[in-house]
């Protein structure tokens, strides 16, 4: 296992009381595989990613375990984290337009990472940077390396970010909505590039997204999060074929499809719960069409089949639907 989270809980101190953004999340990623974390805005997926990078803001409290290649990271001091960041674990952010430093050229920024972690000299680092830019399929890399971010397109900037993230061959790459800000055609290219680099380097990828189409095409495994908890965890193909959690069913119903002709898009009734005052028991219960008396207690994440777990008292859903 490259990354293993166990019972991860993150609480923010806020003016209106403690806010539990992540509540008992467990997941694991193997080398060379992509795990997608899916969920609505505010479900805790980005906070989980930041915790994995050791980048939580100072008002956050963390409990549980973060293991990176078997080594416990949750208790690590900042300097220790820093040495691993960019080298063992790297992250790609959502906004390529603003994630590059406007004062440096693309090549300088990639070279910076190599100088920081591999102590390369200026020239050697820059040459490696050009090679890396070429590797992320930036045409005419030697020229582009000498250009500033404002001279590059969004897709090109995201490629530069990917080159920076992969410069030191990290074991784990976290991509937080890497294509949300990009054109659809560019999205596909960037995701294909990530797949390709993953195959070449054996890096484990955590792909954070709310786009189920992206999940279907690029993820091996999926974790569905709802209001800070894992609702369902399954191999991607299995999740799409047989979703077990009512929330997943709702999500799939709300995603547009091309096959099967025009159908009405289903919406999930109600709104995401307020995490300052979360409902008792299952957090999806207030919006769930299958809720019952037992839903006031939190259902455990239990397997309906090896590798496929869901946190729902009604699982397996077939039983409910047949009745």
């Amino acid at each position: 296992m490259v990354l293993e989270l166990r019972d991860l809980a993150i609480t923010f101190r806020t003016d209106r009381g403690p806010l539990r953004a992540v509540d008992g999340v467990s997941l694991a990623v193997e080398a060379g595989r992509t795990l997608a974390i899916v969920g609505e805005s505010g479900c805790g997926k980005s906070v989980t990613a930041l915790a994995t990078m050791g980048l939580l803001p100072p008002n956050a409290r963390l409990s549980g375990s973060i293991r990176l290649r078997g080594r416990e990271m949750a208790t690590l001091a900042q300097p220790e984290w820093r040495r691993r960041r960019g080298r063992e674990i790297a992250m790609i952010f959502q906004e390529p337009m603003t994630s590059l430093n406007p004062a440096f050229t693309a090549g300088e920024q990639v070279a910076e990472v190599l100088r920081l972690h591999e102590r390369l000299g200026e020239r050697a680092a820059f040459d490696r940077a050009v090679a890396l830019l070429d590797r992320v399929r930036i045409p005419d890399a030697a020229r582009r390396a000498r250009q500033y971010p404002h001279q590059l397109s969004g897709g090109m900037r995201q490629r530069v970010m990917i080159a920076m993230a992969l410069a030191c061959r990290p074991r784990l790459l976290i991509a937080d909505e890497p294509t949300t800000a990009l054109d659809v055609t560019v999205q596909a290219q960037i995701l294909a590039l990530l797949d390709e680099l993953k195959r070449e380097t054996g890096t484990a990828v955590v792909l954070i997204t709310h786009d189920l189409g992206v999940v279907a095409d690029h993820a091996d495994d999926v974790v569905v999060m709802y209001a800070g908890r894992v609702a369902e965890r399954a191999p991607a193909a299995r999740l799409f074929a047989r979703p077990e959690h009512p929330y997943t069913v709702g999500l799939l119903g709300a995603a547009p499809r091309i096959e099967g002709g025009p159908t009405r898009l289903a919406s999930i009734e109600g709104t995401v719960p307020d995490l300052l005052h979360p409902p008792e028991g299952c957090r999806f219960a207030p919006r769930c069409p299958f809720r019952g008396a037992d839903c006031t207690r939190q259902p455990p994440l239990s397997e309906v089949e090896p590798g496929h777990a869901t946190a729902c008292w009604r699982a397996p859903l077939d039983r409910v639907l047949a009745a």
């Binding site: 820093r82 952010f93 004062a103």
Partner: protein, 285 residues
């Protein structure tokens, strides 16, 4: 936009050169700096050489700017006086930058009580008028040009603390600083390698304007006898001794006064031009 190495500095330079008044300012500044550096070679006479036969002579072919109450050549004294003024302007603002910018960056990036403490001290210093604080410090340190320069440097530094802190606070919230942190940069590296290059433009503008202010401060301190000590020439002390002869020998006041006026104006014009050239909103012009 096709140039491959279209660096922000190059674009700013292009815009600056289109700004006529700013270029004029730059030329005057360069002229005064040359005058200060080359004073021994340019000067027609020794600025300290007194002469009983040439007391308070009006401008003539022999003495272009006339002579003063001790028969010294005013042109020579104005040229040598440029040294005190330029040194006070450039050196004291450089020292102010060296003091102010690191402290401001620290405050902005560290946050918390460190920031609160530094910001309050800077605000307190800024609440005292520039010249008053400089006079108080110079009087405390004792009358000498070096002490006046140190006093000016200390007085000029809180503006840089405030500026660097504000810019660092802005930068701290940007995606690229977060990305740099995610790549494993330690805090000092975030400040010096990543944030500092981005805040140089506003610092440059402020530094130019501060130099003008420092030159006036030096002249004022010397006028009050707290700066350059006689007989060494300084525009401020020249003005001081000139006031006794304002009606009989106005050239004693006119030339150093004109020098102060010109150099301060030039620095201000240059600062305005830099501000326009470095303003990111002017990007697409």
């Amino acid at each position: 936009m096709s140039a491959t190495a279209d660096s922000p500095a190059r674009r700013a330079l292009r815009r600056f050169l289109r700004h006529r008044l700013a270029v004029f300012g730059l030329l005057v500044v360069v002229l005064f700096i040359l005058a200060a550096l080359l004073a021994p070679w340019l000067s027609p006479a020794d600025p300290l050489q007194t002469s009983w036969t040439a007391i308070r002579k009006p401008p003539s072919a022999a003495h272009w700017f006339g002579t003063d109450e001790n028969g010294r050549d005013v042109l020579a004294r104005v040229l040598y006086g440029a040294r005190a003024s330029m040194a006070a302007g450039v050196l004291s603002v450089s020292v102010a930058l060296l003091i102010g910018v690191p402290i401001g960056l620290l405050a902005g990036l560290a946050g918390g009580w460190v920031d609160a403490l530094i910001a309050r001290i800077a605000d307190a210093m800024l609440s005292v008028p520039f010249l008053i604080l400089a006079i108080a410090l110079a009087a405390f340190l004792g009358p000498a040009l070096e002490n006046a320069m140190l006093a000016i440097a200390i007085t000029a530094s809180p503006i840089f603390v405030r500026l660097a802190r504000g810019m660092a606070l802005d930068a701290r919230a940007t995606d690229w600083v977060e990305a740099a942190r995610a790549l494993g940069n330690p805090p000092w590296r975030l400040g010096l390698v990543h944030v500092l290059p981005n805040i140089i433009p506003p610092l440059l503008v402020q530094a130019t304007l501060s130099i003008a202010e420092a030159i006036i401060a030096e002249a004022s301190l010397s006028f009050l006898g707290l700066g350059q000590q006689p007989p060494a020439p300084s525009w401020g002390s020249m003005l001081n001794s000139a006031q006794r002869f304002l009606t009989q020998a106005p050239w004693l006041a006119i030339f150093p006064g004109l020098a102060i006026f010109l150099v301060v104006l030039a620095f201000n014009l240059m600062g305005d031009g830099l501000r326009d050239a470095l303003d990111p909103r002017g990007e697409r012009r």
